[in-house]
Symmetry: C2
Subunit: 296 residues, 2 copies
């Protein structure tokens, strides 16, 4: 296996390479590292086009996955590598929560929306979650700095699917100085008004309603106002979670209107919540982030 | 979920629909059916572009998967749907063997190359395999006829990966009247000269060396001579199974030379045996089958 990049990690790199596979004109890598924010080992995948492997700086986009996922789902099923290879774009998929912490492993088939695989990308304030469920700090500070230190990156955009779409909208508008672009696929738009989000926030924040508001994407957009030239959101029109109120898409539209934040919101006929939908529209999202990076 | 096609299965259809998901301008479907050839329930996936969903006949390609796979691997990881949607191509992925037959479930982590997930797409002649491991008859007769009866198909090509690449070359040249095109990704080219293939053929055919020869792809091509205007084979140059002799790629080249069968054989620098390689080249294969279908 040709592996251009492993040798060029920094001398005291905190990263351990798990795998490297040639894919189009680039390589799909996996890394693990010990995280300070989550006090455990974290894994992420990164697609590096040949330009980045050769040390030329490229724009990057962080993809936050949805409930129950880890880095594998989007890396295997979303079909991003071809477009990233063509554009010269770096694509990074972190995990959705800390893993292997028995004290917080309350997730199961019935409660897949709390705990492992369901961090909502916030810093929890209530025990037992507050010890390790600090995914906001992990993404926005620790992983962000690590990526900039270890890879040839010009700028970073943020996107996500479902719970990860909420994370991308939330973190993109809480930390606009860190990200050059925001987009979302089938996002939970207002976690504090979704049954999934309410279950999670009750665990992570208890009754602290200020925290609930500060961690709600639509509320945050309305509170901080316009931050990006435009944001792109795709939503399957036949998505069962749109129908049952988990996603609250109109709340995003209202928040953007009040904030003066230009929003391209596309309802795609016949499409559901699955990776079959994601692969259908994600190339447009990668191009959106690539264009925004050129303007930044 | 919009599901155009389920209602238009034939009145006495033998198919049971498992799922339907919108994907690009078409739908990804899964079906199961009771098989006469394998005396058990079989599952396959089929991508149907909108033209086919509307009843207009389209060219189709059968994809035979490699060792340990089922219909999911290629359906989730090979990224064929976009290209098939663009061209108006039907893509069908059968399983790699019968399942759930305790008497033949000898496969395990050490012997993943025999039994479930490892049929080699032959009709076994030795017990206990001969009862249900009749995957040649399943693919070439039963599934073939079922697909033509139930879906809007003009012609069928055949392709595959690894063990499934062997199956595509073998069945394509044994039954050239059934298929309009052949291609393979990282194929086992001569199963009777590969340690994997020898282990499987010993189980399925015992000492019957005539059966070994008749079931070897390179031998079959040499025996039957040119059948197609050209065949396309892609091989990762950094594939560990090429290096260790499982694939026997030069044997395919020699057989095609002797047979006068035009062969486009491409060694792709840096690429391994994984689905990261498959996704890199499979669009070219779909285009190959589409072009051959136009000429047929």
């Amino acid at each position: 296996m040709t592996n251009y990049y492993a040798d060029s990690l920094s001398a005291n790199s905190k990263l351990t390479q798990i795998s490297a596979n040639r894919c189009f004109d680039g390589e799909q890598h996996y890394y693990s590292h010990d995280s300070t924010a989550t006090k455990t080992s974290m894994t992420f995948s990164i697609y590096l086009p040949d330009e980045a492997l050769a040390g030329h700086r490229c724009p990057a986009v962080l993809y936050l996955s949805g409930l129950t996922c880890n880095a594998d789902n989007v890396t295997h099923k979303a079909h991003v590598q071809k477009k990233c290879s063509e554009l010269g774009m770096i694509f990074i998929a972190p995990d959705t929560s800390p893993r292997s912490n028995a004290e917080v492993d309350v997730a199961n088939d019935e409660r897949y929306f709390v705990g492992q695989g369901a961090s909502y990308y916030v810093d929890a304030t209530c025990a037992p979650w507050s010890e390790r469920f600090n995914m906001q700090s992990y993404i926005v500070d620790e992983l962000y700095d690590l990526l900039r230190a270890e890879f040839a990156i010009t700028s970073i955009g943020i996107m996500g699917h479902s719970m990860g779409g909420h994370g991308a909208l939330l973190l993109g508008f809480k930390f606009p100085s860190k990200f050059v672009s925001v987009s979302a696929l089938s996002p939970v738009c207002a976690a504090s008004e979704s049954a999934w989000g309410q279950a999670a926030f009750s665990e992570y924040f208890g009754d602290n309603k200020v925290k609930w508001q500060e961690s709600d994407a639509a509320h945050t957009i309305e509170a901080v106002g316009q931050q990006y030239a435009s944001i792109l959101v795709d939503q399957g029109a036949a998505d069962e979670f749109l129908a049952d109120g988990q996603l609250q898409t109109p709340k995003l539209q209202q928040a953007c209107e009040k904030a003066g934040q230009p929003l391209t919101l596309r309802y795609q006929a016949g499409h559901d919540h699955s990776y079959y939908f994601i692969q259908t529209v994600i190339h447009d999202h990668i191009e959106h982030h690539w264009r925004m990076a050129q303007l930044s």
